[in-house]
Structures are given as C-alpha cells and as structure tokens.
Symmetry: C2
Subunit: 539 residues, 2 copies
C-alpha cells in the first residue's frame, strides 16, 4: 500500500529556538534536531523551554534515529531531557556529538544514547529514509544540511546556513553536492528563515577577521578583551592566529568558552598556536594579552558582566582596556547588554560594539542567499522553518517571487502535520504541542496560569488579607494585611486602615465578593491591580 | 562679588529620557526642559519616571523661568507634575507650547503656568541669563537649541539635533546663527549624545519620503497602513502630500495622532490638502486609502496593535493590506514589536519594517554630525548629555579626538553640580536625585524595595504560610499555605504537605528562623526562591 510522508515540526516554527522536526513514513520516524529555546522576557522566571516530547514518547517504537544538523543549543540542547524519557540512536558530525556527549554526561543520561559519528559525505539509512548530508557554512564548524530521500521524493532540510564565499575555516555551503544529491528534483524544502527580513547578503566572516586584525594593530599598549559566543569556533580560531601574529597570549574566561575550546582542540577543530593559552594574565604586560570572555548577551554570570560589576576574580577593567563585543545582541537582551556596556565605560574602558565596527556577522543567510537556495533547490513545496511568523511569511513570499505556486507554500506552526504522497500535499489535524518550561528543578509543572500570576505580581504585587472569624463567621478581631510589591506598607497606614474598613463592610458576603470589593477598592484608591487574596481564619 | 555658573542635570544623564537641566548663577535659576522617562523592562509596573524636583521646589524663589527645546515628552512630559508643586513661567515655540498647553489642561494645572511664546530668533532675558535660540533639525518641527550667555561666558545647550541637509519641512540646524551668537567663544557645550555609537551621518529624512513615494506607487490595489510616532509632524506632512499625489484619502487612528494632527493644523504647522482627511475608510476602495496609525512600538492599546489583535473597531487587517512601520524600535520594545508584526503577517498582511526599506530615520545626528557640532562650537569645556553612560563616554572621546583637553571633558551623572568661574571648572558635591516612579495614582511612593519585591515575585511567586498558634505559641491546627506564581498548587500536594512538616519542625524558633528554613526547603526541593512569609495566627 502506498503511504504518505508526514513532516511534523515539534518546535522551531513561530519562534527561533527549540528546533525539532519529525519525519514520518509508515511505521518509521526520524527526528532532525532536538533543541531548547531561551525564554523571552514574558516568560517570567523560566530558565529554558523544551519542545513537547509527547508525540515522540508515544511513538518511540517507530523512532529509527535522531539526526543532528549542528551543535548549537537551539538544535541539541533538549536531548538530555528527551533521553530521560526514551533511549535513542543519535547521528551527527564529530564536533556536534562531542558537544552532545558533554551535555548528556552532565545530566547523567549518556548511557541512554547510542552516538554515531558521521561525516559530511556519509549517508545514513534509517528504514525508508536515506539521509544524505551536505556541508553548510554556519557560525559553528561541522554544520550540515540534509537531503532526506523518501519513497515519495526527496526533502531538503537546510539546517542553519549562510552562503558565505569566504567563511572563517573555509567551509562553504556545498550547493554543488546538494544539486548532485537531488537529480530527480525535490518534493519539499524545509528552510532556515532567520534572516528573511534582512536585505542583501550577510557579510562574510572574513571582514570580521580583517577588522579584528586592524583593531589589534591599533590597540598599542592596551589589553584587548574580546567577548564572543563560545560556539563560534571558527572565529575563535581566527582570533588565536591574530593574537599570535600580534605577539599576544590568550587567556580564556567563562566556563562554556573554556569547555568548548578544550573540546574543539581535543577533536582537532582548533589549531592552537604553541604556548599561546595562559591561565592568567598576571606577569604579562597589557599589550601582550588578549582575554577571550563570555558575555556578549550581558548574561548576569558571564565573564564580561562580572568584569563590568567588578566581581571578576582575575580581571579588573580600567583605562588600559579595549573591549570588543564580537557578538550580535539577541532581541530581548538589548537592555542587559546596554547596562553592561555602560558599566564598562564607567570603569574607564573603551568598548567597540554594535555598528561601530564590523566585529560580528550573522551565521544565517539574508534575503539574497535565501533566494539563491530556493533557486538551487526548486522544490515542489516550500515549508519555511526556523523563524517567527514574520520570518516564515517573508520567506514564503520569496518562494512565490521565485516562481513557486502560492498554494504550494505552507506556513506551518508547531504541531502541524504536513502530509504528501509525492503528487499533492495537505495538512492533517494538528497535534497539540505546548511550551515545556524548565524552572529550576521543575520541568513542565509551570504552565500558563502560573505565568499569568507572575506577570500580574510583577506589575502590582499582592495583598493577602487575613480575617479572623468565629464559628458563626463573625469577625472577632482586626483583619491583618500581608503584602509585598504593592506599595511600601510603612508609608501607607491610612490606605491600610481604609482597606480594613472595607473588609468589615464586605466580609459577610463571602470570600469571592470580598475579593472583588477589595480589588475595586485598591483600584479606586491607587489605579493599581494587585493580586488580592482574602483568607478567613477560624479562631 | 564674582559668582560661579552651576550646571546641574536633574535628569537625562545616564539615561535617554526625563531631560531637565538647571542653570544657576547667584540667586537665579533657569531650567531647560522638564521631561519624562518611559520605564525599561526592569521597572516593573511603572507607567512613567519623573525627574527629582526637590532642588527646584527648595529653590523656587530663584526660578526665573523654564525654557523648552522642543515638544517631545522626554523634554516636556513632566511639566504637569512639576506644576502641582510650583508655579512657573514657561518659554517655547508655538508648537512646543501648544503641546504643553494640552498636557497641562488634561491634568488641570494650566492655571499654574505662564506660557510665553518665542520664535527661533527671539532672545529671552532672565536675570543674568541671556538665552538665544537657534533652529535645529529634529523629528518634530519648531525645535531649538540655545546659546545661554552668562556673566562667565556662553554655554551651548544643543537640544536634540541632526545636521540633515534635506530635512522634511526644510528646517535645518542653523550653524551659521550658532556661530554668530558666539563671537567670544563658548565656555561649555551641553550636547546631545544619543547616537554617539552610530558611525557616519544619520540618513536624511528625504530618503524616507522617496521610499514612501515608491511604496505607494507600487501598492496598486492595496490599502496602505503607515504606523508613525504621532510627533513626527514633518513626516506626517510629507505623507499627506504623497497620499494626495497618489489619489488616496487619509484616515487617522490612535488618539495621540488625531490630537497632534489637529493641534498642528490649528497652529499652521500642517498644510492639509483639502478633503484628504476622512473619518472612516468605509465606502472607499482599498487603493484609495492610507491609514495613519499609532503603534510603532507595539504598545498594547495602540491602533496598530489593536488591528494585530483583531480588536480595532474600524480596521480589519488582511491580505489586501500593505503595512509600513515608519518608526524605529526603542531598545526594550523589540519583543512587543516582534509579536505585533507576527500577528499582522498571520492575518495575511504584508509588512515592511526594520532594515527592509528606509521607512524611518533617526532624529538625532550620528558621529560625523556630533563631531561637526563640536568643531563648530569649539567649547572650552565639554559636557556630553542626553544619553546612557556609553553614549556620554563615546561623545566625550570624540571631543578629545577633536582637540579638547581630556581634563576639560566632564562625564556627569544626574545630580552632579558642574561649576565654572569662566577660567576653570570643577564638580561640587552631588545632589541626591532619585528616579520618581509614577504607578497609577501613586507618585514617588514606589521605591527600590517595592521594585525588588516585584522582581522576585515575577521570577518565583510567593508563599504565605498561616500558622495557627495558641497563647503559648503552640501549634493548634494545620498550617495553611496561600500562594500564587510559584507552582500550580493543585498539582503539588506532596510538596505542600512536606512544607507543612517543615513548618511543624521549625515554628518554635520564631518567624525569622522559620522563614529561613522554609526558603531553604523550597530551594532544595525546586531550585526556586519564592518570597516566603510565615504569619502566626493567634487562635
């Protein structure tokens, strides 16, 4: 019996993060990527967001394997959580699996994974799926896209890519191989939409190297501190060569950077000039040192933010420092980054950031590159992926502009089941998939209700009114108010005593009506809406 | 006796907003501007932030007048609050004072102000201060900078400016007049630093007009919705001419836009083509309409955000709409704007935003313009103003690069007292100035403690533990837990009953120790730190 191919994004559509896609044919499932999402500012108190694993857990007997495009956390970071639930065989390049292995070890689930190293030219056969990788240029080495051959045709899963002609490390997106792998055409393309709102082409990584070279040449007798994403290993390699050229040692600070450099060196992805790494800059003149530090997003515990706060154990920032922020600011982090920069300037350092110099370029292709990819692949169906709604729609428009039938462009959401028999395509009833919040040790226990409460508490605080009553529900003493985050109670005696009068007036009508009356009272008096919770205490 | 000139910024240094500067000589004070700051995401539940007026209130007998540079809220928005405390004479151009008058009326304090209209060439004499305006190009018409002549020399207070050679409305920054007004040199420059981290020159407003013209020509049979700051009147003028040229009527939506257009028309700042404004687009084909709407920052109640949510009473957005976001995103608003854009795309509209087309340019000059201003003014002392610390420091560096002695560049903070006798300059002991938070009807009653509580509540919620005890402080019943924003209690029975056991174990050691024990308990169990408040109830 002829069967259909299903593509079900469990995460990564309508958001940038927690990428995870199900490919299903008959009783066979292959999953591409399994990442986390970093919470936005509306996700109060949340550490991480995971994709909803329910469909995978329910269908674990069908799972033939998990295939990884690259080692960024939005593509691999949820694996430790998935492996608490199921065992799995996981395929990826050496660097990707090196990063996965470290994560799984940390969470004590390594024994539940069967890690299989592949290279960029090695096909993987998983049931009816023949998965053929091609190299892509991205901001971490060893990144892949996949041609997934299925009985109903080939799907191109681009992964994260840019069409950089002069990438650091020299790994270009291999469009020639992509063409070779798809001699019979492509039924569907599942493509990276991250920069679908950026005109032109993303600047090449080579410009960053040239800029850093010039800045190091001009730095004279200053110490140079460069902040960088710890995964941008090709740029880290470039900085090592440049530091060597300019006669400077490199000190690493920030755990993820130390770990990643160690791992990459071990696996042969970094050529570390002999003797260049030092544990401390003590004893070296300023002009002989480059400090590589975490913190491009102003994260509270990152190395650069600790320097900004004067809390770094080894580095004290001052007039003799040139600091270079070699990382873009992720939307939502602007205020944290801005505060960190302010503090660094206040300590006397000079900081190069933002548009002042090209010290960072994106790892994702811009509109001209997305267009070129669409024209290379020429898919029958287009599924924009890896983006918020605006990016998906803009990417879809570009496919239409490139000649794809508008009816063949599918803007999906997480949980949608896209189905094709190779001749036509449709969407079947969507799965329900939720954001799974990680908050401390709690995974999935915090939901929308708690989130709404936290929002309201953040705006106006709370008031718990304790009302002593006897067995006949008669008031037998003064009500007590417990409150935080509303107003400073010591300054608000008259408001408090008026609220007690309000309680005496309304307590007989029961907790619900009393709550409403008190909410109205506080809104009338202050135009604020604290969370109000009356509690009767039987005395 | 020779006296000294003091410059005291009460707001606007170390922040972008609540600009307010004191010029003091002997028993004479002139204040330049009196604006609000819009809260950042760390100011939970705050509507507005005001400058600290204490110094003005204490010295109101010395106040000769308040002089306004232009009508943006970060320069005039705090006047209604100041006028609750004191009466004042206020000087500004017709548009600026028109905007002030409306604000004062709304807050019922108009009778406490004496509003005096000036034009760009009219000097103001206030005690020892001779205040000489010069025209500046900014994103609202009728903007001024000031040369403030004092007995110890002239100070240049630039106001907000760009050196646009082809501004909409034609009002350029009048550097020739600025030179004329300072024949004897300038003792100090107090200069706009907003874009001190942007290389080159800010693009000219003319490009925006050209882009909008082209987009309107290409819009064909689509309705065009343009979102814009309601104060960008020169661009609104341009859009009116363009709509007329392309045979479209204009519908305004959003209260501040309707108000500002009405006021500007009344005062003669807008030339409204006859019959172009319509109350509703009902009855007009889509291709005959431009909707001008508020909402470029994704503000919840703005017109465009209501359209995005399907809550606008007149406009339903869909496939036949081309939406243009003609406003930059203020840092901190990226997520709100992004969410709004996503919803508009999901409704089928096409949206042009960000870097896709030049549909917005800043009203502040970039580095080359700031440099040109420094070279025009050539002040003895440089005080970078109107910026966060990073902008002030970068602006100060530019002054040094332009040849000003580094010791003559003063990076001040709000409350600093900068003093000069015309030959040397120093800073006297700083005034203590606080952020004054407006939260609903509460002004200045919400302080740092409440803000810290709100932050903590937003992250992990709260737990109030009610512990019934008798007169001998012996437990006489089961403790009760009241909680919100921590976890969903109905799913957490075992945690709750364990916490009651913890209470029974520790309640005898008193409230303080019990609180610590419970905090430790919840952290141990959940890795979260809710606000914990035990209360003993005497039964």
């Amino acid at each position: 019996m002829a069967q259909n191919l299903k593509i079900i994004p469990l995460g990564g559509l309508g958001e940038i993060g927690k990428n995870m896609t199900v490919y299903e044919y008959g009783r066979n499932i292959v999953v591409v990527d399994c990442g986390v999402l970093f919470p936005d500012n509306s996700m109060y108190g949340i550490d991480l967001v995971l994709p909803d694993f329910d469909y995978i857990i329910q269908n674990q007997d069908k799972l033939r394997g998990i295939v990884l495009t690259h080692g960024h956390l939005d593509h691999i970071g949820a694996l430790p959580y998935l492996l608490r639930e199921i065992e799995a065989t996981i395929y990826g390049t050496p660097l990707t699996l090196g990063l996965v292995e470290r994560q799984l070890k940390e969470k004590n689930v390594l024994h539940r994974a069967d890690l299989r190293v592949i290279d960029a030219k090695e096909n993987i056969h998983l049931g009816p799926f023949h998965i053929k990788p091609f190299a892509v240029a991205h901001s971490i080495p060893d990144s892949l896209g996949f041609v997934i051959d299925t009985p109903v045709g080939a799907v191109v899963h681009t992964g994260d890519y840019k069409l950089d002609e002069t990438p650091a490390g020299g790994r270009k997106t291999d469009l020639a191989r992509l063409r070779e792998l798809t001699p019979d055409g492509v039924v569907a393309m599942f493509g990276d939409s991250t920069n679908a709102d950026r005109p032109g082409r993303t600047e090449t990584e080579r410009v960053v190297g040239e800029t850093l070279d010039r800045l190091l040449a001009q730095a004279n007798d200053k110490r140079v501190i460069i902040t960088i994403f710890s995964s941008v290993l090709a740029r880290i390699q470039e900085i090592m060569y440049l530091a060597d050229k300019h006669g400077r040692k490199i000190m690493l600070t920030g755990r993820s950077l130390v770990d990643n450099v160690g791992l990459a060196q071990e696996l042969g992805y970094l050529d570390v000039p002999k003797g260049i790494l030092v544990d401390s800059d003590a004893g070296f003149p300023k002009e002989k040192i480059v400090v590589l530090a975490t913190g491009s997003q102003g994260e509270p515990r990152s190395a650069l933010n600790r320097m900004a706060n004067g809390e770094h154990r080894q580095i004290e920032v001052g007039r003799d420092d040139l600091i270079i922020i070699s990382g873009g600011t992720i939307p939502g982090n602007e205020e944290d980054v801005g505060q960190m920069l302010n503090k660094l300037f206040e300590r006397g350092a000079n900081v190069i950031y933002g548009a002042m110099e090209t010290v960072h370029v994106s790892g994702h292709g811009s509109r001209d590159e997305l267009r070129a990819m669409i024209e290379t692949v020429r898919p029958q169906y287009m599924i924009p992926a890896h983006g918020e709604a605006r990016h998906l729609h803009l990417h879809g428009q570009m496919a239409v502009d490139a000649g794809i039938d508008p009816d063949n462009v599918f803007i999906l959401k997480n949980g949608y089941q896209w189905v094709t028999d190779g001749r036509k395509a449709w969407t079947a009833e969507a799965l329900r998939v939720d954001d799974v919040f990680v908050d401390g040790r709690l995974i999935g226990e915090i939901g929308e209700i708690v989130m709404r409460d936290r929002h309201r508490l953040s705006q106006d605080g709370f008031i718990v009114a304790l009302i002593p009553v006897d067995a006949n529900n008669r008031l037998v003493g003064e009500p007590q108010i417990v409150s935080r985050g509303f107003i400073y109670l010591k300054d608000a005696e008259s408001l408090l005593s008026a609220s007690c009068d309000e309680i005496k007036k309304h307590y007989k009508h029961g907790a619900h009506k009393l709550q409403r009356a008190l909410e109205d009272f506080f809104y009338r008096e202050t135009q604020s809406r604290p969370v109000v919770l009356p509690r009767f205490i039987r005395v």
